[in-house]
Amino acid sequence: MNFLNWLVLVLGAASATNAAGGAIRVVEDMRGLDRAALAADFLSAGAGSSGGGSGHTNNWAVLVCTSRFWFNYRHIANTLSMYRTVKRLGIPDSNIILMLADDVACNPRNHFPATVYNNAGRYLDLYGSNIEVDYRGYEVTVENFIRVLTGRHEEHVPRSKRLLTDDRSNILIFMTGHGGKEFLKFQDAEEIGSHDIADAIAQMFEKKRYNEIFFMIDTCQAASLYKQIYSPNVLAAASSLTGQSSYSHHHDMEIGTAVIDRWTYSNLETLEKLERQDKNTLANLFKTYDSSVILSDPGIRTDLFPRGIENALVTDFFGGVQTTELTLEMYKTSEKQKVLPADVKVEFDGRLSSAQKDTLLEKPRYKLKVVLPQTYLINVPFVLCFGLLLTGVVVAGSV
């Protein structure tokens, strides 16, 4: 086959091996396979996991910080830490809905303006210059959160603010703020109840808007918030059980507030060690929780998650892993191009035929006109006409 195409495939394979965490299966001969069987094969293959795959093809994250004001610095830091983690592990900004009050980085009380740190050592600025906040300030409301989850937006809402998931999407929902028994406070003005969350997730199931959901929540009495969920394929983790408070981890003396919460800090300690191809499971993550350090008992709800946390990889929810299959068949992109089937060998002798040249070197659609600056702008017709005019005047005047 064409040398260039072969080169592209090989390089693509090489890069895909680096980028994706999954195995590469090269399908030699596509014509013989049944398409449906191929698809089922692909989807169940998973990311090369051990045992049953999750069957997801894309990852999304909904990261919500429900607090505002300066003294809730740590909640912004929690959310931005999670944002950084999922981005690092491969979920692109287009697949992340970030909802923040976003009033701490440029707060006049911030000793380090335009920064958000989650550590007193200030090793890493989470705010940076390339974060994309989708809902900021007063847009973080209960209504908007539920609209995001259920996908019921008004017409004018842009795509970047929508959760455009399908039935093969794994969604990470992370919420942090001030909560109580079966409620979560939004922006000091309203609250969402656990039944609302449950019903929203039920709507998502009805509309086939998720494959699996991992619901993380870091508030006081957090476990009460996931108690009412009744849809399948939902895994939930909370920072504390009903009746317990969640605590912040440590203060930064110069910033003047607490900078991170204990449960999120514990999660991050594990997550920061992971890379994209990591095969650690969620069970391993949950085993790292130490109640004496977190000072509260983290709650895990697995009854709605039949796959089991031993089979679920951390990167199933935190990473943007994608299964890749390469094919040696070419797509036709123009009339002249011929589709070369895989079993036809074309000798490459270092020279391109004219047909191949045509496909490779297409004529540009526009012509570049090079304009050189003229220094001599008084053109000859003008001089002639003007001279004619002057002589005419002189001649007529002397008559």
């Binding site: 050189l372 600056p373 220094t375 003008f382 006409c385 003007f386 005419g392 005047v393 007529a396 005047g397």
Partner: protein
């Protein structure tokens, strides 16, 4: 008198060579307007040299032939070109003034006879000659009611132009008004001499540079008719109600079209029309100047803009026909009056317009004794010369005044010029009347009482 003329030239040369006034004067809004600014000309030439259409930017509003002229001229020669043009203007003003002086000397006064006997005696004495004589010629005056007037010194008119600080400032700032003035004065000069073609060519050039000199075509054609017919025929023809040379209009139209055609050949398209004449007519650039337009058009709502543009433009040209008809025997006077009207009411006036009409006004010195408001006008002129830049500085640079300060002074400029206009025309009307039917009331104050 010659010394003063030379002094005017020397002042210009000294200021050009020794000082840096040219740059600062070019930035003063009283001197340079969007359609006459030299800085914009430099911008246009630069754009054109780099193969960009200078009219596309909305900055350059001057005629293409001027663009071509400044394209070929060397930078260092340009101030001397303007000084040369000023000298030519002064020379031609002197020539026009000579003609005017002759005209003044030849003016007839209807004699006034207190009693019948004196009338018989005088008629018998002066049967052959119908001219009056003035004191200077040495012959005894026949009629004591005729006012004693000193003859017009032509060189004085040239000196008035050269030593006028307003014209010095305009020349230093290299404003395009110098071209305008030169073309108009040349057109009037040739009209006075009776050279129809040249006169109309220069008037076409003047109206090509800025539109308003088109008003001068009618009085200049009357001047041509007067000078041609006086040379050929006696005064009988002159008695006709309105004699203007109709060929002049045709020539003017031809030359205008020819100039526009040549510009089209130079620029390659007709786009320049919108940027040059469109700007003068539609006034999109509302940079403050000494005129009356910018303030009202800045605060005008768009739906009224066209109407007021029409009104303002018509106001400038509406006086052409009536004044020409009224003063058909004095076309040069009409030229002077049109100069004042243009300077007061045109869309982008500057002090150069004032400097252009003052010599023409000084050619009619015999009217000054009939004018009632000269004292006020001169003092208003002096005070506005001081207050205009002062209030502009206060508004723009110091920030402690606002546009109303500057606008008030432009209003005073308008008031002064309108007073001058009214007085000037009134003086001419009075004088003409006294020369003719009003012989019984010469030199006397007239009170009208209703019984």
């Amino acid at each position: 008198m010659e010394v003063l003329a030379v002094l005017g030239v020397v002042i210009r040369l000294a200021l050009v060579q020794r000082t840096d006034f040219a740059r600062t004067l070019d930035q003063r809004v009283e001197v340079s307007t969007p359609v006459t600014s030299f800085k914009r000309m430099q911008e246009g030439v630069f754009l054109w040299r780099n193969n960009i259409n200078p009219y596309e930017g909305g900055v350059f509003h001057q005629a293409p032939l001027l663009l071509a002229l400044f394209h070929v001229l060397d930078d260092r020669m340009i101030p001397y070109l303007f000084i040369l043009l000023d000298i030519l203007v002064a020379k031609m003003l002197v020539e026009i003034a000579k003609h005017r002086a002759l005209d003044l000397k030849n003016q007839t006064w209807r004699p006034f006879f207190p009693s019948k006997e004196e009338k018989e005696a005088l008629l018998a004495h002066e049967s052959a000659e119908s001219k009056t004589v003035t004191k200077e010629s040495g012959v005894k005056k026949s009629d004591p009611t005729i006012p004693t007037e000193s003859a017009l010194v032509p060189l004085f008119v040239g000196v008035v132009y050269l030593l006028n600080p307003l014209s010095i400032v305009t020349c230093l700032a290299r404003s395009m008004l110098v071209f305008n003035t030169a073309a108009v004065v040349t057109g009037v000069y040739f009209a006075v001499k009776g050279r129809q073609v040249y006169s109309m060519f220069f008037l076409a050039l003047a109206s090509y540079v800025s539109m308003y000199p088109v008003m001068f075509v009618l009085p200049c054609s009357m001047l041509i008719a007067k000078s041609l017919k006086v040379k050929i025929w006696p005064n009988i023809i002159f008695e006709q109600p309105f004699s203007a040379s109709p060929v002049s209009f045709l020539l003017f139209a031809t030359f205008t079209i020819a100039l526009l055609g040549v510009s089209n050949v130079l620029m390659g398209s007709w786009d320049f029309l919108e940027s040059t004449y469109g700007v003068i007519l539609l006034v999109p650039d509302l940079q403050p100047n000494t005129g009356l337009w910018w303030y009202i058009f800045i605060e005008m709502f768009d739906q009224f803009r066209l109407f007021f543009l029409l009104v303002f433009q018509v106001f400038v040209v509406a006086f052409v026909l009536p004044l020409s008809l009224k003063f058909r025997e004095h076309p040069l006077f009409v030229v002077a009056v049109f100069g004042i009207i243009i300077a007061t009411f045109k869309s982008y006036p500057a002090v150069g317009d004032v400097a252009a009409y003052i010599p023409f006004v000084f050619m009619y010195q015999e009217l000054f004794k009939y004018m009632k408001n000269l004292y006020i006008i001169t003092h208003l002129g002096f005070s506005t010369c001081i207050l205009l830049p002062l209030f502009y500085n206060l508004w723009i640079y110091a920030g402690s005044g606002n546009a109303n300060f500057f606008y008030a002074i432009t209003l005073i400029v308008g008031v002064a010029q309108v007073l001058l206009l009214g007085d000037f025309i009134g003086a001419m009307v009075r004088r003409e009347w006294e020369r003719g039917e009003g012989y019984a009331f010469r030199g006397r104050r007239i009170e009208v009482m209703l019984k």
